[in-house]
Amino acid sequence: MIDFIDYLLGGISSGAIIALMALALVLVWRSTRVVNFAQLGQAMFTTYIALTVRELTGSWFLGLIIAMAAGLVVGVIVHFLVIRPVKRLDTSGAIIATFGVLIALEALAAMVWGGDPEAFPPPINNSGYEAFGRIWPFSPYDLLVLASVVFLVLALSVVFTRTNVGLAMRASAFNPEVARLSGVRVNRMLALGWAIAGLVGAVAGVLVAPLSTLSPTSFDIFLVFAFTAAVIGGLDSLVGAVAFGIGTGLVIALVSGYSDSSNAPLVALVLLVLNLLFKPEGVFSHHKARAV
């Protein structure tokens, strides 16, 4: 029993990070109906930028802020330079193009920073809290991760539900024609969706790097988990992405705890297939309602 609790506790922060990654995928999907397989490649790239800033200035926080800004910029660049031109031709082309972006970013990162894994130490203590005479697998750093994710998700939900820009973005996703007829510059809103996704991914990258190491391909595995969470959540739903992101993190922690962490991707795949068999539209999707 105590094992079970330990595994769950240990899975919270990675679940929160997977939630962010899933959120990024959903933001892009909602704005342009493209699954961005380069999302974590972008996050890897901005995390390297954070590492460089950190090495130069000694500030983890400054690294995070610069990475977030870089995430915005990279998101907009990928949207305008790759996705928009390709999507004008056809949508499946755009999805393949995101693979191209992933490969290009990984190659570029290897050229700039080298292919060897680099350490990205946590900014604060990452050993578990002590209580009731034992050490629990939840550290001050896990708390920082959790707090950052909660803050970002709340901030995003305020932007989406309480501001004009958020309303314009949601309307552009639901019905671009009505949005344009209302005077919304829909193309800008789509670019903004990519930008915010880039920012969210950048935060996820900086937060997750201390849990492993940083290399051009070290985030690839998270794409599997984030994609699973996003699809099960319905691809359309921000709430679904967050809920199933955390859920996926916990499941992975349990699987890794009771068997071996190398089984985690397989379990994610099984979850994905089960979902596609029994609830293909996702658990939180609005698709059914919108088809009417």
């Binding site: 314009a168 309307a171 209302s182 005077g183 919304v184 829909v186 309602a289």
Partner: protein, 234 residues
């Protein structure tokens, strides 16, 4: 105010509009009537910037709007309520309204919102409900309300009667007619439902297979038996 000058629109080989010219003056309703497939929606969508014409122009206050984007045309003061229920079901009633005219000042939008709620009180009562909980008639009011939120000088209504009970249609159209008279709004109404449209319109224009076959005072068109049999089917 709004003038359509020798407009032709094709979809591939389909000639949807052929050399159509008409005027939409302020302060009244101008009705374009015609059977399904006559080209009514094409006319409206082209004016709103959603379709590109093959030839001809749209002029608004003597300014050429041909080739402008929909989001720019609505900012100039031409608002389209497209065919079907052009509301966003996932948004609340008030969010659907607030979507219209975001570029306007806070004060302008607040004034418009108050006005829309005064015009369609049911929208005010339901402002926090999702749009998909509304009835068909309420959603049509919401769609018109969203267009009014953009502060238009010209309002384009594409078959507002579609799927609504006749009584509700009459109510909505009479409201629009009053609004046109009171505030100098230019209204272009297209309808299959000729009788209702011609009742509120000053001028009637009959469109058949992309061509204007008749135009004149609405009352005369409504009484023209031959025209009715030939093009309007009643």
């Amino acid at each position: 105010m709004l003038r359509i000058d020798a407009l032709s629109v094709n979809y591939g080989a389909v000639e949807a509009l052929k050399n159509v010219s008409l005027d939409v003056p302020p302060g009244r309703v101008t009705a374009v009537i015609g059977a399904n497939g006559a080209g009514k929606s094409t006319l409206m969508r082209t004016l709103a910037g959603l379709e590109k014409p093959l030839a001809g122009r749209g002029l608004f206050n003597d300014e050429d709007i041909t080739g402008s984007k929909p989001e720019d045309i609505v900012r100039m003061g031409i608002a389209l309520v497209p065919e079907g229920r052009s509301t966003i079901p996932d948004l609340t009633v008030e969010e659907n309204l607030k979507l219209g005219g975001m570029w306007r000042t806070h004060a302008q939008r607040a004034t418009s919102l108050t006005r829309v709620y005064a015009l369609f009180p049911v929208l005010g009562e339901r402002r926090h409900l999702r749009a998909d909980t509304l009835s068909g008639g309420e959603r049509q009011q919401l769609a018109i309300g969203r267009a009014l939120m953009t502060g238009p000088q010209a309002l384009l209504l594409d078959e507002p009667s579609l799927g609504l009970a006749p009584l509700i249609v009459t109510q909505i159209l009479e409201l629009v007619e009053h609004m046109a008279r009171d505030s100098g709004l230019a209204v272009l109404l297209v309808e299959q439902n000729a009788a209702t449209a011609l009742r509120v319109a000053k001028t009637g224009i009959v469109l058949n297979l992309g061509e204007i076959v008749k135009s004149g005072p609405a009352r005369e068109i409504a009484q023209d038996e031959e025209l009715r049999h030939a093009y309007l089917g009643y």
